[in-house]
Symmetry: C2
Amino acid sequence: MKSAIPETGVPITPPATGNGSDRQEASLHGEILLRLRDYVVEGNIPDGARVPERQLCEMLGISRTPLREALKVLAAEGLIELLPNRGARVRQLSQRDLEELFDVMAGLESLAGRLACEAITDEEIAAIERLHYEMYGHYLHRDMHGYFQTNQQIHESIVAAARNATLKTTYANFAGRIRRVRYSANFARKRQRWAEAMREHEAILDALRRRAGSELSDILFQHLRNKRGAAIEHLAEGPDGTPATTPQGD
Amino acid sequence: MKSAIPETGVPITPPATGNGSDRQEASLHGEILLRLRDYVVEGNIPDGARVPERQLCEMLGISRTPLREALKVLAAEGLIELLPNRGARVRQLSQRDLEELFDVMAGLESLAGRLACEAITDEEIAAIERLHYEMYGHYLHRDMHGYFQTNQQIHESIVAAARNATLKTTYANFAGRIRRVRYSANFARKRQRWAEAMREHEAILDALRRRAGSELSDILFQHLRNKRGAAIEHLAEGPDGTPATTPQGD
DNA sequence: CCACGCCATTTTGCATTCATTTTTTGTCTT
DNA sequence: AAGACAAAAAATGAATGCAAAATGGCGTGG
């Protein structure tokens, strides 16, 4: 018997980044869905590992019915996969899967930028500028965590400025999938990309100020594409030099 | 003892355009999910109407458990919404919701075009050209149904040429939501948009031949944006001149 | 010594059952 | 007669039970 899940119960995850595609906190099922999603996204279950229903049930103190409902939803979201009569497994993303995910993210952000140019206010732009300088500070201090967090805030601000709830939800969904890889693989962007990324961010701000939708769309896509390259490359050689974590079904 | 599914039940929908975000035809739950999704997408349940579990259960000849699992997934996909303790309703899309949907679709197609330029073969382009001329024929014959179908094939070909399964799945999901509106509202694009749309399609082909990713991305976005305008406008004044179908809670 | 097959245990999938909540209906009061 | 209240009826949400499938262990045979 292999228990992929530690004995310590599920930490009551606050709605930190709330990547939910829906927010039905009312019903037990909804609550379970939120907690389980965070649990998986945060990498508490290793790649490809089984998600034992029984164990999770006693861990969460519920019966199997609402848990299984939540599992079905997570499967539809692409976080786990359901093998017929063989239970749920955390979805193991191949390198190709990751490339695809990054490209879709790039497309969504590209879209967000385009739409943002149509409706963004000067105040919102000013807020993003502040974040930009804050990020620059992190960059100078070599504070990777702070840098990454602020970077994420900037991109989320652009998505918010797009004034499109559907886009925002979809974006959050994909962001969650990618975040899981980051958590579990413990990867971050390379130093060497920092300077380049900063320049790109300046171009983003510039296009945003001019409300140049098409241009911003292009820049954002390229920016994310470059991120993709760095991330994939990083994963391919392992988070700390170890050989690549090759997808292994079983 | 409940036997097989009654003949009068849900029509056995062929995998026509297969908009599934997953295809687990094996389990009963998966089968139910596919059928229910098609059932809803095809507009068999009016906007905002309740989705009575009990009735659907005997219609499908199953118990409530797998049905409820499918409902949860459909809710996550955005086709229905779950009111706590008050059952499932077919999601009523406001005009704003539709605008958002169209914009996201535009973004996805825009992305598809960009990616397609990186990998599309001459043969695929030739196939799209054939579809284009076929569509032109429908246009000349004022065959709206044929035109629309071929048009959809072209856009799907571009998505296929993007070589991104994740994108394709997401695209199919949103296409399903929009398709439902088309089915239930019975709307189609106006004649007057035809000529313009044909010209845009020629520009699309041109950019595709030149593998001009950014350019194609722009054109596709604008193309879909124009579509959006026509569709929304059409819905706003009703499919056949009737006043707008205003969202109605219950 | 290893490979193959058989049986016990565990796990999954679905049906059924139980407890609440909502909705409806009937009655009473004003 | 209209509205409000209350009880019955129905529907929902979750738990439990049961049959089928898979997993693992064990014995037998090569």
